[in-house]
């Protein structure tokens, strides 16, 4: 029997990863290289924030202290956020955003597919819905990664560099800590070693098509999911949370 504290922390990991990634993609609105890409990134951001809302509402119910999705999104500080560190990394150029998106889309597709049969019925329902959306996201990011990797010398160099820079954050997605193990043992979440094999196969196939080399493994232990973040998250939250913190209870 898992404690409700463990369940809460786990749901917050899922929720915060989607929220932070959605907020990052939202920074592209009005700035993407072409109108179609602007719309696509905004659509993906909307899906991610929608998923985050469902998950945060659930987290608030598990916690049982009256915090709703808005209180959890806008009134927590960086150390209370449980997103994986990769999600909070800055957008960089379009190629870097695509690399970050692809690595996370491939992970979320595997994660949500597994969670669709979670012992937690609410999580299973949210995941079954989210996985359909996430498959669209993955087709978009994988398609762009192949175009850029197998594109010009310039586009190849840029995504290759982004891949090298971001690869060190992927180990956190795939290496279980005590909470991941407890959640997997309870049948709520997937076993991460099994998920790692499927993720690596999926990612490897696309990188090959994109003529990109798989970077060397990096085991530096990032701990975003435990609330230890890179400096970037605080800056991002300052912008995201500014309005509701300055004007408490503000509505449209």
């Amino acid at each position: 029997m898992t404690s409700s504290e463990a369940r809460l922390r786990y749901v917050l990991r899922l929720a915060d990863t989607s929220l932070v990634l959605g907020q990052r993609l939202g920074e592209w609105v009005g700035h993407a290289p072409a109108l179609e890409e602007d719309l696509a990134l905004a659509n993906i951001a909307l899906d991610l924030i929608g998923q985050a809302r469902l998950l945060l509402s659930y987290a608030g119910e598990i916690e049982g202290r009256g915090r709703d999705e808005d209180a959890l999104a806008f009134l927590r500080d960086a150390p209370e956020f449980c997103n994986v560190s990769l999600a909070e990394q800055p957008n960089g150029d379009f190629g870097r955003t695509i690399v970050r998106q692809f690595l996370l889309d491939a992970w979320q597709v595997e994660l949500y597919e597994a969670l669709s049969s979670s012992a937690d019925a609410r999580l299973a329902a949210i995941a079954a819905k989210a996985v359909k959306e996430t498959r669209y996201h993955l087709r978009f990011s994988a398609g762009w990664l192949v175009r850029l990797g197998d594109g010009t010398a310039e586009s190849h160099a840029r995504v290759a560099q982004a891949l090298d820079a971001l690869w060190r954050f992927t180990d956190e997605l795939l290496t279980p800590d005590a909470l991941d193990e407890e959640i997997a043992a309870a049948g709520i979440g997937p076993s991460l070693p099994g998920l790692r094999a499927r993720w690596e196969a999926r990612v490897g196939a696309v990188l090959q098509e994109a003529t990109l080399k798989l970077p060397a493994a990096s085991r530096y232990p990032w701990h975003g999911k435990r609330g230890v973040h890179s400096e970037h998250l605080g800056h991002m939250l300052a912008e995201m949370q500014h309005l509701p913190r300055t004007f408490p209870g503000v509505t449209w």
């Binding site: 179609e36 890409e37 719309l39 696509a40 659509n43 993906i44 909307l46 899906d47 991610l48 924030i49 929608g50 998923q51 809302r53 469902l54 019925a121 609410r122 299973a124 329902a125 949210i126 079954a128 819905k129 989210a130 359909k132 959306e133 669209y136 087709r139 978009f140």
Partner: protein, 151 residues
């Protein structure tokens, strides 16, 4: 029967983004249930982040209040997840007439241009003006158009 009056009232509640489709055409109403005198309407979102969901919920409450059918509880159900297969036959015809190609299969060749009927079309982007639509172009009449995504 209260339930039948509720179903009847729901026919006039339109999707705010695609105003030719009623919530019944869209397949988002999952049940109308009389729970010991308390009527409950279950609706499901098309996409997790679709902003129309909250508008639809309010529109349903207002429509039922106009018919003196309140208080009715409108609740969200997530499982099973909405699929474009729940779009009614009538809804598909209305979409096509409105200039949005109805969802068919996942292949571009089965999409028909809503302007000239040609199947000679190409996909511009899988993401369009709302979460539920993709962006296409007809190679014969050269018009751009939206396609309701298959999900």
């Amino acid at each position: 029967m209260v339930n039948e009056r509720v179903w009847q009232a729901l026919r006039s509640v339109m999707d705010p983004e695609i105003p030719v489709l009623s919530v019944l055409d869209l397949g988002v109403v999952r049940y109308v249930r009389d729970d010991g005198g308390q009527v409950r309407v279950g609706i499901t979102p098309t996409y997790s982040g679709c902003p129309a969901t909250e508008v639809i919920q309010r529109s349903i409450e207002e429509a039922l209040a106009r018919e003196d059918l309140d208080p009715v509880i409108v609740e969200t159900v997530l499982s099973p997840p909405w699929t474009s297969e729940w779009l009614s036959e009538e809804g598909r015809r209305k979409l096509q007439a409105f200039g949005i190609a109805a969802p068919t299969a996942r292949t571009a060749s089965s999409v028909a241009c809503p302007h000239c009927g040609s199947h000679h079309v190409e996909r511009v982007s899988e993401f369009g003006s709302t979460p539920c639509k993709a962006h296409y172009r007809c190679v014969d009449c050269l018009e751009p158009f939206d396609v309701f995504k298959c999900i």
